[in-house]
Amino acid sequence: MQNAIELQGLKKRLGNFVLGPIDLTVPRGCIVGYIGENGAGKSTTIKLLLNLMIPDQGEIKLLGKDIREFTPQMKKDIAYVFDDLYLPEDMTLKNVQNFHRKLYGQAWQDKTFSELIARFSLPNNKTIKHFSRGMRMQLGLALALSHGAKLLLLDEATSGLDPVIRDDVLDLLLEYIQNEDHTILVSSHILSDLEKVADYIAFIHKGQLLFMETKDELVDQYGITSLSKEQLAEIDDKAIVGKRPHQFGVEVMLKRSLVPSDLELERVSVEDIMVYMIKGERK
């Protein structure tokens, strides 16, 4: 089993919005950043992967197996963290733990869960209702990492969290991926710190997968610089990915291979690529 996720011709219509057809292959043992604007289709894809929605067309294989043939046992190999907990609000940690112990049976790892709870210093005496946004996400992540799952799906899990908590999440994800049978797909409209460790970036726009590339090759392809309008006129049109003109000049993202090598370019972030590509398209 080499691939953790295989999507073939995946299609889903929701009112006016159409996702796909999407073909996507995620090799085992890597971290994928699944990025795009709000409403691009990231969450729809994840819901389809989790069988929470039925596709109109196409095939979904997780860990080498068609999800329609998943047994309850195999479902425990998949873990997910959403932007919120979706558990009864009057549960305490003890209730949550007992509930998941029953839910996951043999697969449940009580020790791992207790360690993560201690690491996050989550309170034992409070009900979930009184948990902060960060605590809710930490609990969600602790639950996801406590049943021996091989594939971890995060849907906007770290959006709106403070940088210190995001940093803790990063550490946990890196520990998880030390096992090369483990795979992570992180969907987000802001990758920020997570982009450093992502092996691949998959970019979805208006329901279409624009590309999936290794992050290194992706960010090495482009560069950003500030130019005067006269300087911009001398640049090959094909080299311009996107630009932000202002009163005193223009900021442009360029393809490194199509501009003179003595032109000094700054390194780009994945977010830069997303912004310039989407805005470049609008013109």
């Binding site: 890196l174 520990e175 460790v197 992502a198 092996d199 290194d216 090495d220």
Partner: protein
């Protein structure tokens, strides 16, 4: 072993890792047959992607600095010092050719060149 990733550097990250490990091997900080950290551990510690550290190791292996044993890890390859010296001499030669070309263009004499080398050497000695 120390490895420092600098975002301000123009070198891609895999190359920064590769060069620093290579230097550690060449200056003897890493000895022959020493086990290197796994690509996943290195990626975790440096907070870079696994593909990045794997590329650094692949290139070190291609250049003969390390060798990988499946399931065991990557080890420092015994270095053939004569061969290494040969390679460095070649590098020096090609760089000198370049220098001579510029010297001719800028009309710099041999004596001036030698003087420049000496000055730079002294400066470097002070820095170290």
């Amino acid at each position: 072993m120390n490895i420092q990733i600098k975002n301000s550097s123009n070198d891609p990250i895999y190359l920064q890792i590769k060069n620093q490990i290579r230097d550690a091997i060449l200056n003897g900080e890493l000895e022959a047959d020493e086990l290197l950290p796994s690509i996943r551990f290195l990626a975790k510690e440096l907070r870079v992607s696994v593909i990045t550290t794997k590329r650094a190791y692949d290139e070190l292996e291609k250049d003969g600095f390390i060798h990988s044993v499946h399931g065991k890890g990557s080890f420092v390859a015994p270095q053939n010092l004569d061969l290494m010296r040969e390679r460095f001499l070649k590098k020096i030669e090609s760089n000198i050719t370049e220098i001579l070309r510029y010297a001719k263009l800028a009309d710099v004499s041999h004596d001036e060149l030698i003087e420049m080398i000496k000055t730079l050497e002294d400066e470097n000695a002070e820095c170290n």
